[in-house]
């Protein structure tokens, strides 16, 4: 996969409200092939909701999501979701399946790959995230960091056009975030198209092509990390960055 200007994901004016609370108030963004975009912002600003609306885990109230120009609709949903992988904050590995079967399930049942092909691919992806030796363990027998890497392997095996990461390190003990961030950096450098909600400043600085800063359900600022970290234009961005960079150095 190589970077290009070809548009993979386009999000147009998404709106979502829960009861009286408007969580998303018109969010638009695009991802081009090979681009890694990081969404930041204080908690409760709608970052996770944005990701969930993109693959319609929470259907948006208004707005459109297009994958390579094709809109997601209830009719095309299942067919299109296989191209949009989702990595959850709390992993959500299938508890009753061994790691290798977690990585095989979607390949077998959705992509209809042969067992041999699915197995080969699963081992390849587990190798990639450094878990080949844990293939026959159950999720409950792995550490949090290992579970999250396994869930990334599960995502990769589906040949997604884009991967959505929903705070992939925030449920982990601090000493375990590193192994997950390393895998994500590697993916970004290999040209995987990814949209990442995360406060991992290290990842954002070194691996992201662009940072999107959200506040109050809208995007207030976006730009390359060098610009945004060094010279944030918006008051809220400055305040937020001050807090998280301080935490990082602490």
């Amino acid at each position: 996969m190589t970077k290009s200007d070809e548009e993979v994901l386009r999000v147009e004016d998404l709106h979502k409200r829960y009861g009286d609370h408007a969580v998303l108030r018109g969010v638009s963004l695009t991802l081009t092939r090979g681009e890694a975009k990081v969404v930041m912002g204080s908690s409760g600003t709608g970052k996770s909701t944005l990701l969930r609306c993109i693959n319609h885990l929470s259907p948006p109230d208004a707005g459109r999501v297009l994958l390579e120009g094709q809109p997601l609709t209830p009719a095309t949903l299942n067919a299109m979701r296989r191209h949009i992988a989702f990595v959850f904050q709390d992993f959500n590995l299938f508890t009753h399946l061994k790691v290798i079967d977690n990585v095989r399930l979607g390949q077998r049942r959705i992509l209809k790959r042969s067992k041999a092909a699915a197995t080969e691919r699963a081992m390849q992806e587990l190798e990639r995230v450094g878990l080949a030796d844990r293939a026959h363990y159950y999720p409950a027998q792995l550490s949090g960091g290992q579970q999250q890497r396994a869930s990334i392997a599960r995502a990769l095996a589906m040949d997604p056009k884009v991967i959505l990461f929903d705070e992939p390190t925030s449920a982990l003990d601090p000493e375990l975030t590193g192994e997950v961030v390393t895998v994500m950096k590697q993916l970004a450098s290999e040209g995987m198209t990814m949209l990442v909600v995360s406060h991992e400043v290290g990842f954002a600085r070194t691996a992201a092509d662009e940072i999107v800063f959200m506040d109050g359900g809208t995007i207030v600022e976006q730009g390359p990390p060098s610009t945004l970290f060094a010279n944030p234009a918006h008051e809220r961005t400055r305040a937020f960055l001050k807090v998280i960079t301080h935490q990082e150095s602490a």
Binding site: N55, L57, A85, F88, F94, H96, L105, R109, Y138, A140
Partner: protein, 226 residues
Amino acid sequence: MEFLDFAGEHLPFILEGVPVTLGLWILAISFGFVFGLVLAWCRIYAPTPLYLLATGYIEIFRGTPMLVQMFFIYLGLPEVGIVLDPFTSAVVAIGLNTSAYQAEYFRAALLSVPQGQMQAARAMGMGQTQALIHVILPQALRRVLPQWSNEAILELKFTSIAFAIGVSEITARAEQVGYRTFEFFDVFLLVALVYLVLTGVVAEVLQWVERRVHVPGVTTTGAAAG
């Protein structure tokens, strides 16, 4: 000694009822398993009319005695042209009855699977039914297994009720021996022992199944039911 002689003489005749008892039991709990899952599905996922039907069904079958249900089916249904032989009537009655209990266990088990599991399956591109089959059910069934085993053993004992409509299972055969020999105490003591062994063996088998399908991290829904 006298009892042992008695047992030696009459046990074979009583044991000929074991296949009937076990056949009745297996058919009834299998029927209850399938129908119980359908009812549980109705209670969780179905539109309101189906939900209400399933709820009403469960309330009625859990709120009335199995013997009355069995008479209703065996003696009553011929009035509307449905004639079933005693064995079939017993299978239907016990099956309908246990399905109502199994449904409630299944419902609790399905709801106890964390929501993230369904989300992860859907996010991958699975439809709801596909996700239920490949992700939710395998976990729910493992979680419910201890309670389900209790229910199955309870039903094994309830198969003796079929004797009241003339099914020639263990209890009915014991009663026949009683009327032949007039040794009622001995014969019913003997059949009690047969049931103790039978329920003991079945309990062992079910525990073996539990160990067999055990997966670390997929644990039971709660305390075993009484």
